[in-house]
């Protein structure tokens, strides 16, 4: 009989929970994943507590000793593909009952972590098209949509470049808001027939915090009020950053018109 290594269980469960949280999963899904993984590895009475910034797990071993472990989460992105994969892993563990091979789960978690994203140029093109379609949806003309296409591509390129540095999310939304409004207002100053406000909200839709809003509501429905309200705060801060950033365009055009 092989002995269960409880340090491995701590490591694997925290990894699995962090993977859900870092790729845009709800808090209760992260907790469920941690509990299912721990149960299938042979931990007794596992329980977990997850907020948007931390994953904690605690369980008992066969001798009655308690083990607990936590991990601080620093960055949260959105990757729906990884979310589906980790959900499948959790489901298959739940179905299979108890297993003792920790290496198999470690391997699967590592494989999920290393799943490649769509290629960069493809994502930039999708973001630009996203702005294009939203401008048409909000009643813009085709020339408005073309402007939005260009600004959307520029915005996504800048955001992808900044993603590697260590700026916080409030500053990134502040910056996105100001990039959108400055570029759109600069186009508005020229003689081109463009409705700047429609272009602006069309481009804005690619940085709107839709996922955070959805997750915060779903967390609150699941009874997780602390995580839900923390995420709602995230939504409000992003919205605030975007709208304060948009003031840059107004101020800039005001200054230019004052000079002329």
């Amino acid at each position: 009989m092989n002995r269960i290594n409880y340090d491995d269980i701590q490591q694997i469960t925290v990894d699995a929970g962090a993977l859900v949280l870092e790729n845009g999963g709800e808090t209760y899904r992260s907790e469920d994943t941690v509990v299912h993984t721990a149960l299938s590895l042979g931990a007794e009475e596992p329980s977990s507590f997850v907020t948007p910034t931390v994953v904690m797990v605690s369980f008992r071993d066969n001798d009655g000793a308690h083990h607990s472990c936590f991990r601080r989460i620093y960055r949260r992105g959105i990757n729906l593909r990884k979310l589906v994969m980790i959900n499948n892993l959790s489901r298959s563990l739940e179905r299979r009952g108890r297993i003792s091979d920790t290496r198999m789960i470690e391997h699967r978690i590592a494989r999920i972590n290393n799943t490649p994203d769509y290629p960069g140029p493809f994502i930039v093109a999708a973001a630009a098209l996203n702005s294009f379609f939203f401008t048409l949806l909000f009643g813009g003309s085709f020339s408005d949509a073309l402007c939005a296409f260009v600004i959307g591509a520029v915005l996504r390129l800048i955001l992808r470049f900044l993603d590697k540095s260590i700026l916080n999310s409030f500053f990134i939304s502040l910056l996105s808001g100001s990039i959108i409004s400055v570029l759109a207002d600069c186009i508005g100053l020229t003689a081109l027939p463009v409705h700047t406000s429609v272009v602006m909200i069309g481009v804005l839709m690619q940085v709107v915090p839709g996922l955070a809003l959805v997750n915060s509501i779903r967390d609150i429905i699941a009874g997780d009020f602390m995580a839900g309200s923390a995420r709602l705060m995230d939504v409000l801060m992003t919205a605030l950053g975007l709208s304060v950033g948009s003031a840059a365009g107004v101020l800039l055009t005001g200054a230019i018109q004052g000079l002329l």
Binding site: G24, G25, E26, R29, L39, I78, N79, L80, R81, K82, L83, V84, N87, N88, R91, E94, G97, R98, D117, Y118, F122, I123, A126, A127, L129, N130, F132, F133, F134, L136, L137, F138, R156, G177, S181, S197, M200, I201, L204, M205, Q206, V208, G210, L211, L213, V214, N215, I217, R218, I220, I221, A222, A239, L242, S243, V244, S246, A247, V250, L251
Partner: protein, 168 residues
């Protein structure tokens, strides 16, 4: 609003939701389904608005339909509902309202700021309610179905937690 305009709105929202799903790295078949939900949600909202109904009711109906269908797809395809829900409601999210409100504040036009802010708040609350009601209904239904084990199914030897068991 004519049928052609409604069809165009559906087409644009389909494209917008699909591109949004690509930016979030969804898988190819999930992209299509999410985009269909996005178009459905927006068309329902646009139809309510064109029919002269209250705008908040349109937001509520659109979000409710998108959330209900994404919960259904989640159960059917064994995926997290978020994968379909996020592209599904993204066209409805009142990003523009908040943006207009802040610009009006900066320009010092307070009546406009108040009206845009009030519109955005109403829309956000209506969408949240739509998702909340659809999701909690889905949770009740799935919990009721899950409690009944299938014939011949082996019941797992680890404890299954129900909230009512705590404290007994």
């Amino acid at each position: 609003m004519t049928m052609i305009q409604l069809a165009a709105a559906g087409l644009w929202s389909f494209g917008a939701s699909a591109c949004c799903a690509v930016c979030f790295n969804a898988e190819k078949k999930d992209i299509i389904l999410g985009a269909v939900l996005g178009a459905a949600g927006w068309v329902i909202y646009a139809a309510f608005k064109a029919g002269g109904g209250a705008e908040a009711l349109g937001y509520f109906a659109g979000a409710f339909a998108a959330a209900g269908f994404s919960e259904f797809l989640a159960v059917l395809l064994h995926r997290p509902a978020t994968v379909y829900l996020v592209p599904g409601i993204i066209p409805l999210v009142p990003g523009g309202g908040i943006f207009y409100m802040m610009r009006a504040v900066v320009k010092g036009e307070f009546p406009e700021a108040l009206s845009a802010g009030y519109g955005a708040l109403t829309a956000a609350v209506a969408i949240a309610l739509g998702i909340a009601i659809a999701s909690s209904t889905a949770r009740i239904i799935t919990a009721a179905v899950k409690r009944r084990p299938h014939k011949g199914e082996k019941i797992p030897d680890h404890p299954v937690y129900f909230p009512d068991d705590i404290g007994n």
